[in-house]
Amino acid sequence: MSEPLLKVDSVTKNFGGFTALSNVTTEVGVGERFGLIGPNGSGKTTLINCISGMLTNDGGNIIFDGQNLNGMKAHKRTAAGITRTFQIPRPFHSMTVMDNLKIPIEFLGIAGASQKAIEDEAMSILETMGMADKANGETTGLTQIELRKLELARAIAAKPKLLISDEAMAGLTGNEVDEVLEILINFNEQGMTIIMIEHIMRAVMQFSHRIICLDAGELIAEGTPDVIVKDKGVERAYLGV
């Protein structure tokens, strides 16, 4: 592997007396499809919160694209190329679907870009998602799968180098899961590195090149999907034996 895109170096996070992450170290390579699994409360979301800047890590370093992110504000990290989606979709509900996408394009794109150019760019993303017909609709009228897609579309509009997808498939049907997977793989093939957090094992295993598993804030396993499936520790963590 060449120089990794993201380096997580002994990251620790405490909430009061509770240790949510202890000494987590891992790397994500350029163009990699990276899976992050673990039971509920294992620290997955805390880790990506630390990476995306929603939380500040108490110890350790997060290095992205050769740059140490410690102390950097979330929106600066987005500008640097890390974008995340949320577990429960958080659309800007007072805006149309199109305006939702315009936010990242406008705030991260070239200053002084014309409204026409911005709208064209947003439209092309919506088209790849198959949501072009909803562009001028309100977000309140969207179905579950459409909300998930909007969440992804908005993140992609930020043109990330690294996309962190936080349970983008929870609550979707089998077909819908495949649809989302296809979209993600498609973007990965265009060069986007993707971290996927997921409970649907089938999806993670199918998607990821490499997977890490967290349990109680500690990294307990790392490897290709085949290795992870066979890992005793992972099994224990999930079954609680």
Binding site: G53, F86, R90, S94
Partner: protein, 322 residues
């Protein structure tokens, strides 16, 4: 047409000037002044509250700071109204900026209560500051013949721009009101407005989408505070008297959130409509019912609009016509 709104603004100002020129009825200037002041307050409040979703409960604090900056300038330098407005805008804007910094971690109700607390702290300081009259208040004579660059503004004998002080203040208030509406509209139509909207909808998501939320909030608190301060600066000259009880009146907090709410918070026109409506009704009620029923009207109007027309009058109209 590209500059339709700007031309509209200029026309409104021309109309306001003609209105003073015609000298229709002096009552109209005196009754119109508070309505225009309401327009300005509601518009200023809406930049932070309506677009950004941060409820400022301390409107009275910003207005009071504006009023008392003006008082201090009169006491200290004998400054004219234009200087008072500009400096009050700067001072209140700075206050907005610092309150923004200070409360940057606070959200929702905590922010609202913090601004309320700020207003009370400021009132206490003014109460104890004898230079500006302290708790007893202070009264002053209105400027007889303000001048700027050799032009005499007020002269009852003709030859000047305005016949009397009330007309002059009315016109200044009109200019300020139009100015604030123009600012609010420019923000709303631009990137800033959309950014503030995204903060209102979901601040974390906005931050993750590259919106510099802190910077935008500071911008909004500064602009909003500054405009409120300017609206307050004209107040002492209009009343020729000011005391802390009047300048920091809770009524301002109520009105500043009631007006955008009644009109509609999502667009610049909402606060304008709400302010004109509520301002007019209040002025009218004072000189017709003239009793506790005044207060009842405000109460019933508030409850009626928030229950029946949740998106304000503007929202109601737009829905009807869809």
């Amino acid at each position: 047409m590209r500059y339709k709104f700007e031309i509209g603004c200029i026309l409104v100002l021309l109309a306001a000037y003609l209105f003073t020129y015609l000298e229709v009825n002096r009552f109209l200037y005196v009754a119109g002044f508070p309505i225009l002041q309401f327009v300005m307050i509601a518009t200023a409040w809406n930049i932070l509250g309506g677009y950004g979703g941060y409820i400022n409960f301390g409107t009275a604090g910003f207005l009071g700071v504006g009023s008392y900056t003006a008082v201090a300038l009169i006491q200290w330098l004998g400054a004219g109204i234009v200087e008072q407005v500009i400096i009050a805008g700067v001072v209140a804007g700075f206050l907005g900026l610092s309150i923004g910094y200070f409360t940057l971690r606070l959200k929702g109700v905590y922010f609202a209560i913090a601004t309320l607390a700020l207003a009370i702290v400021l009132e206490t300081f003014v109460n104890n500051w004898d230079f500006v009259g302290g708790a007893a208040g202070i009264s002053f004579l209105p400027p007889r013949k303000p001048e700027l660059l050799g032009y005499v503004f007020i002269d009852s004998k003709g030859g000047a721009l305005f016949g009397n002080t009330k007309e002059y203040l009315f016109f200044i208030m009109a200019v300020l009101a139009v100015f604030s509406v123009w600012i609010a509209r420019s923000i709303e139509k631009g990137k800033l407005g959309r950014g503030l909207n995204s903060i209102k909808d979901n601040e974390e998501a906005a931050e993750c989408m590259g919106v510099p939320t802190l910077r935008l909030k500071l911008f909004a608190t500064t602009i909003s505070g500054s405009l409120m301060g300017m609206a307050g600066a004209v107040f002492p000259s209009f009343l020729t008297f000011i005391d802390p009880l009047t300048a920091f009146n809770l009524e301002f907090a109520v009105n500043s959130l009631a007006m955008p709410m009644i009109g509609g918070t999502f667009t610049w026109i909402g606060p304008v409509v709400g302010a004109v409506l509520l301002g007019t009704v209040q002025q009218w009620a004072i000189v017709t019912f003239s009793s506790e029923l005044n207060l009842l009207i405000l109460g019933v109007l508030l409850i009626f609009f928030v229950t029946v027309a949740p998106h304000g009058i503007v929202g109601w109209f737009m829905k009807k016509n869809k």
